[in-house]
């Protein structure tokens, strides 16, 4: 049978859920960031699938949109890791559940 749009959507949904679960359950800040990355990638995949199987004039704008998502994701990871470093420096730990205290 032909590889249609549904195949990619199912794949994207599965990937999103795995990323979501990782983001929720991991104890390490970097682990959470990995989860978030996976979720973003899943969204990109579904977007590109739509652009391929949708009407042509909509295809270009979705690809531009995906470029922006990738840029934002990169910026987000950079700032997230910098935050993790600062948290480590003050709390000597970056495990998410041990830094529950918002201290001034």
């Amino acid at each position: 049978m032909i590889i249609g749009l549904e195949h990619y959507l199912v794949l994207g949904a599965l990937l999103f859920c795995i990323g979501f679960f990782i983001a929720l359950s991991k104890k390490n800040a970097v682990g959470v960031l990995i989860g978030v990355e996976l979720m973003l990638n899943a969204v990109n995949l579904t977007l590109i699938a739509f652009s391929r199987f949708g009407a042509t004039e909509v295809a270009l704008s979705t690809q531009v949109f995906v470029v922006f998502i990738i840029a934002v994701a990169a910026a987000e990871v950079a700032v997230g890791l910098a935050l993790a470093l600062v948290v480590y420096r003050n709390r000597q730990t970056i495990s998410v559940d041990r830094t529950t205290l918002l201290k001034g």
């Binding site: 970097v30 199987f53 470093l85 998410v96």
Partner: protein, 206 residues
């Protein structure tokens, strides 16, 4: 592309992506997790190729595999070995799995059930040029805002990660205090460590 080749590519790449992602959940060591992430990213880049979005595939490899994963590895290297535990939090694991299951069922049902009116037209050719032009022509404003965002993130990350001397002094003092067991040191009146006072006069030689 011939049907058989396309099928082979799609299913192998799908297995690679989902396998990599699920291994992240299982692997104990954080660096293993990042390497499995890289594998699933490569899988996704391959999937973009099967969707004939070659510019996005190359950008994906360049940014995710080339830069972001190395950034994560650097972050992991900067924190000591004790923090490299990739284990789940057992207490919150249960409810999280429930929520994820709920989300999964709803998205899958929506994905399969609705009629997307998918039409398989010829893919765009020479996407790099088209994307470039549209970035400059129609999406010039988001393009500029994106540039500002990236610079802000860059400066922010550096400002956060950088450690100037005053912080170092506070930090070293608090560590020392903990060693001596006098409780925490308030950062205001931290005395700078005595700098080697006997400035050797080197006027003789130079």
């Amino acid at each position: 592309m011939s049907d058989f080749g396309f099928h082979l590519a799609f299913w192998s790449l799908a297995a690679m992506t989902l396998g990599g992602a699920s291994m992240i959940i299982i692997s104990r060591n954080l660096i293993h997790a990042v390497i499995w992430l890289v594998m699933s990213m490569l899988g996704i880049a391959g999937l973009y190729l099967t969707l004939s979005a070659d510019f996005i595939a190359v950008v994906q490899v360049l940014i995710y595999v080339g830069a972001i994963s190395v950034l994560m590895l650097f972050a992991i290297m900067l924190t000591p070995r004790a923090e490299r535990d990739n284990s789940q939090n057992i207490k919150t694991g249960g409810p999280a799995a429930l929520v994820v299951l709920l989300v999964m069922i709803s998205t899958l049902w929506v994905a399969i059930d609705t009629d997307w009116g998918a039409v398989r037209e010829a893919a765009l050719t020479d996407q790099a040029r088209l994307i470039g032009e549209s970035l400059i022509k129609h999406y010039i404003l988001p393009f500029e805002i994106g540039a500002v965002l990236l610079t802000a993130a860059l400066v922010g990350a550096i400002a956060l990660a950088r450690q100037d001397d005053e912080d170092a002094a506070v930090h070293a003092a608090s560590l020392q205090a903990e060693l001596d067991g006098e409780g925490s040191v308030d950062p205001v009146n931290v005395v700078d460590p005595p700098i080697a006072s006997e400035a050797s006069d080197t006027e003789a030689a130079s």
